[in-house]
Symmetry: C2
Subunit: 332 residues, 2 copies
């Protein structure tokens, strides 16, 4: 992880660790406003950490629009609150008992407390932004609420897809644009919104984040099948075992042509490690892996391209590129 080709790695981790340092005490201060009965579940979840990618994007987009960090800070806090509320609720919906090698909130405190802890963080995000209802803060609240609703819509699609044996790539990407893209698009532009930047700057940053979301998800889905479990922290082939219609699977199904039905049946019924290996090989054979990585490259390039349309401060512009490369890295 050194040398000029990996410069982005050091740059991105610097930006993200700075964001984590700045945003952690501000999140703590916001959480202090909740009913103390909620401290235990909320703090248990937040102590799990996370890369604070969304907070980092807000702070960098603030600088990219030429404003001081403190202008973007409420946005960084609010978006992390929304992201973490969605994780707490998602873990219930997916029945996941572990996140980052620790029990999830519902597994530790029960479903009821996990629901209410998430609800509290969702409302808190809006409160943080509307504490000082300036036009910029109100615009940020509008953007965040819109993104939250898009994220929920994506999650609803994802749940509906669970009942199906196949979906089109278009459906998959629409779902991804909501579930993953909307909040990243909001994160990438929220600093500019808070800085009162021109609409075209906000729009370009939004587009950057939307493409980044798809690129990120495509790589994440590839790692979910072929990634090194010691690096991803997830069991290899787990997504296949759970019959998830991830991007590589959807691409392979579209390419499988007359073997499509056979592949669908295999994917829908597999329940052993041996079958998972065979399915992974078939998805690979039908270009699921290369197709997903190509899709990621295309969207990563489109993300960077969106930024070329507008005038941004030089250093934060390079930091946005670095974060984009970092979160779509294949050896995570």
């Amino acid at each position: 992880m050194s040398g000029p080709a990996n410069d982005f790695f050091g740059q991105a981790t610097d930006v993200l660790s700075h964001a984590a340092d700045v945003v952690a005490p501000a999140i703590d201060l916001a959480v202090d406003r909740l009913n103390p009965e909620l401290y235990a579940p909320v703090r248990h979840h937040l102590a799990g950490g996370g890369k604070r990618v969304r907070a980092g994007l807000v702070l960098v987009s603030t600088a990219a629009a030429g404003a001081a960090e403190r202008v973007g800070l409420p946005g960084a806090v609010a978006i992390e609150l929304v992201h973490n509320y969605s994780l707490i609720h998602d873990d219930i919906m997916d029945g996941d008992r572990e996140r980052r090698h620790r029990p999830t909130v519902w597994a530790e405190f029960g479903v009821g407390r996990a629901i209410i802890a998430g609800d509290a963080l969702a409302a808190l995000a809006t409160q943080v932004l509307l504490d000082e209802p300036t036009p910029e803060r109100v615009a940020a609240a509008v953007s965040l609420t819109w993104a939250t609703q898009e994220m929920i819509a994506g999650q609803a699609d994802d749940m509906a897809f669970e009942d199906r044996t196949s979906i089109s790539l278009e459906e998959s990407l629409r779902m991804t644009a909501g579930k993953t893209g909307a909040l990243l698009a909001c994160a990438s532009s929220l600093g500019a919104v808070l800085a009162g930047a021109p609409k075209q700057t906000v729009d370009a940053l939004c587009e950057f984040g939307q493409h980044l979301g798809i690129a990120f998800q495509a790589v994440d889905d590839v790692l979910g099948i072929w990634g090194d479990p010691t690096q991803t922290g997830k069991a290899a082939g787990n997504d296949l075992l759970q019959h998830k219609l991830t991007i590589p699977v959807v691409i392979a199904l579209e390419a499988a042509d007359h073997q499509r039905h056979e592949l669908e049946n295999l994917l829908a019924s597999l329940d052993s490690a041996g079958e998972v290996d065979r399915a992974a090989q078939l998805v690979d054979k039908f270009e699921g892996r290369t197709g997903a990585l190509q899709l990621a490259d295309d969207h990563l390039r489109a993300a960077m391209g969106a930024l070329d349309r507008v005038d941004l401060e030089g250093t934060p512009r390079r930091q946005l590129d670095a974060i984009a490369q970092f979160v779509t890295e294949r050896n995570r």
Copy 2:
């Protein structure tokens, strides 16, 4: 239900049925903006109806502050969305499989879809208010988000109380002020906020709603023990069987003095209809019933008194009184 003493009944039902007529299509229009995957669970829940008390209070408070109904409509829609989101999530937390003689959302569609349906309505409420971010609409969003957080705090207290065998009346009333009072206080003042009424008018209406919330809950708790099941729609003594520390129980425990421990043990362990009858008699003997009804009367009077401090339009002022009497009626 006729004669001058019951005038409030006809007046309140007129106001509430008008509110339901006005707000139903506006809620439908808002729900249309959601992902169609969410229509089934959301519409299933909304089709259950409800008295639309909160919408009625918003519309009447709009008129009380001298503004046209359309000014208050987004507030009426938003508060009903928040109220219904909280019901959908509460039903999961409480494990309730039925509401108004129909399956609850989680019982019909599963816990995951019920969580996401509630999340969508919560975000939608903020969207409806911030569609046109005028200063009044922003102030309404701030008020509603604050009330939502207070409601969540009350719900968190309520869950924490489940692990205890007794609580003080002060704790019980603080929890009620959050869980029931906050949203009624917001509903009672939101129309005035949207109308741009002076702070003292908004504050008086808020205080009216806060007292109304406690009066309503005290009566509701009495009916939960001694009410006629054919009128309340709930099994008699259900709250006692579920070991809920309702207002009559808390009052009785405080009055029981040296028999407190005995009553606590009986209440914590009862699990048959015979025991429920005996417990209800004991709670009655220790003034739980009369004490709770006295408390309701005191807060109903305080609610009306708050309105005396400010200048309101005559007809809506009388309608507020009528709604207050209606929702604290003992023969519901």
